[in-house]
Symmetry: C2
Subunit: 376 residues, 2 copies
């Protein structure tokens, strides 16, 4: 087999014995990404609470903590359980509405083993948590999720958020400790509008926090999210915490923001050419069940083939990735390998049982994606 | 909690204690789907070799075998290993190019425990298999994969396929036993053209098989694929085998073909409304990491909410499904549940660790998706 790209851009040697398809991670790039974000957070004076959704891997969470993170962010109780029990994380924000008694029971158990904060974005959810915590004789820290324009979950920033914060603060056995937003609408805006949108989101959060504090609520935390705006929103004076996730690996979407090149993409999907049915077409041994189906916001198609900007992954079915090959493309013969930067690395990791860790071009370790499949 | 749909269309009772998100399977609909396809295959006199990609579950493979399947189809060696070892399947077609010595070694080991046939679509792949089998002192049955218009993998039907068949038949330690196609281009054609395309694909396969046989090659198998055309292509005289997969569950795409209603959709994704931030918007506790991102070819959006054709799942992020609610929609309050027919059930199953089996509205069993994650 051969790898069909300039060797300098690749992270794994073509003669590695591990079979494809597989997701490989450059330990060097991973550590650099982790260290740089930690240094940035320290530089602007905000706490770093990375979202583990991107890697779901105990070893990487521990690297993030070692670099100075104050704790982690999870979406699911099951992810938090894995991170507390397998990675030894002591401080978790569940940045997701936790609804229903089965999850609350697990939350109460988890509170015995770690500091846990939970997001709420409705009085109904806060009231359920308040009643459950009263029944279990516990007090839970909650963070109000605020919508700064993404229009997903979250109560509208400003007066609505202020009013709900006051109501939540009055509920027994809850302690309102902060507000949080995911300024995802900045990520999907045209690049030249992104900074303006992210700054506006940050400023609206700080103003809302001040309004809530004016009622005598301490509210130490004003938290913002997301890798694409990670160098922008946290610079707003008054933001206290940032929760980026994707930065550990980066992906094809990250190219769009201009500052990130292939050399910052730590995770590569290694696939083999298994069919070459026509001069202008080959098939890779991946598809929607291993690479994931997320559309690209940068390089067209279903991922960027390292070293081959002109080759397009034009169609994914479950186990086939069909590539169009321009005239006179060298290589791409059966049993050749390619490294792919996925469009969106988070769902790709979510399809893998393990990550293969690469040092100096060789696979040196295997890390289980221990929180994969923890959908509840 | 309540389930917001006419009870008659739902398969699981709203008061089930199992937490969401989860994928539930109606045992009754599953068995009916399995039995009907088996009866159809018997009626038209073709062998049924279902593709297990849809369910990846030992219990369902066993139900298919009990209903008369001659064996199963898999894409990955790892899936075949699970099906042989955990479901006791004795006859497997690997309908995927098997490239590289690691997979061949596992194939040789598997041949000790089951009858295994392998698809090839290139002389390079056939030659590698031939040399490996010679080295291992084994003879492998191979099936030539033929492209009847889908333009994914496969050698072009007709003279090209005939020529490659003759070359493969001469290779030592391989036995060419059939040709196969996946007429996926029929599935994606406009509904009124589907039958014509599927019939043409079947007829071209039969003509190609006859041409190969005219050289003295027995070629017992002429195999066609795929659920959408399952009632069409196998009716062509001379087709000997069919390999549908999705029919066990059906999905939102199946609606498109007119003959399938919600009552034939055995697998439902049960999600909870976790946020209701605006009168016209709610958020379900699912997203691309549990429901999958495949586009719909039928009902618009990211899945069909049973009983609510006017509610649209307009946006999926990793753990959030944002729904738009028309004016005066009843229900959809926090902690209510919905049943969703996924756009494409196969990648949804691929994201689940287990299926929850429902009988008479109650969850009665949990089946592991044992071949999930077997990407190699």
């Amino acid at each position: 087999m051969a790898i069909v790209a300039p060797a300098s851009e690749l992270i794994v040697a073509p003669d590695t014995e591990v079979d494809t398809p597989m997701l490989v991670v450059s330990e060097e790039i991973l550590r650099r990404n982790i260290d740089e974000m930690a240094a940035f957070a320290a530089g602007v004076g905000v706490s770093l609470r990375p979202h583990i959704k991107t890697h779901k891997t105990a070893q990487i969470a521990r690297l993030q903590m070692a670099a100075g993170a104050v704790g982690i962010t999870c979406a699911k109780v099951g992810e938090a359980e894995v991170m507390v029990d397998q990675a030894g994380i002591a401080d978790v924000l569940l940045a997701y509405p936790t609804i229903g008694e089965p999850k609350v029971r697990r939350l109460v158990a988890l509170m015995e083993r770690a500091t846990v904060k939970v997001a709420v974005d409705s009085l109904e959810a806060a009231d359920m948590l308040s009643r459950s915590m009263t029944r279990h004789d516990r007090t839970l820290d909650v963070v109000l999720e605020v919508n700064t324009g993404q229009n997903r979950s979250g109560v509208t920033v400003g007066a609505e958020a202020e009013a709900m914060a006051l109501q939540i603060a009055r509920l027994p056995n809850l302690r309102l400790t902060g507000i949080m937003t995911h300024e995802g609408h900045a990520n999907s805006a045209p690049p030249d509008e992104m900074e303006t949108i992210a700054i506006a989101a940050g400023e609206a959060m700080v103003a809302t926090a001040e309004a809530i504090r004016s009622h005598g609520i301490a509210l130490p935390t004003v938290s913002v999210g997301s890798t694409p705006a990670a160098r922008i929103t946290p610079t707003v004076r008054g933001i206290t915490e940032m929760r980026p996730g994707t930065y550990v690996f980066n992906d094809n979407s990250a190219f769009r923001y201009g500052t990130i090149g292939v050399d910052r993409c730590a995770a590569r999907f290694v696939a083999t050419i298994v069919s070459r049915p026509a001069p202008d077409r080959c098939v890779l041994d991946t598809g929607s069940k291993s690479l994931a189906m997320d559309p690209s916001r940068a390089h067209p198609g279903h991922g960027y083939i390292v070293g081959h900007p002109d080759v397009r992954i034009v169609k994914l079915s479950e186990e086939h990735a069909v590539c169009s090959l321009p005239d006179e493309t060298d290589g791409f013969e059966i049993s050749d390998r390619v490294e792919i930067i996925p469009n969106h690395i988070c769902p790709t990791v979510n399809l893998m049982n393990e990550l293969f860790i690469v040092r100096d071009g060789a696979i040196v370790d295997t890390w289980q994606v221990a929180a994969r499949g923890m959908v509840r």
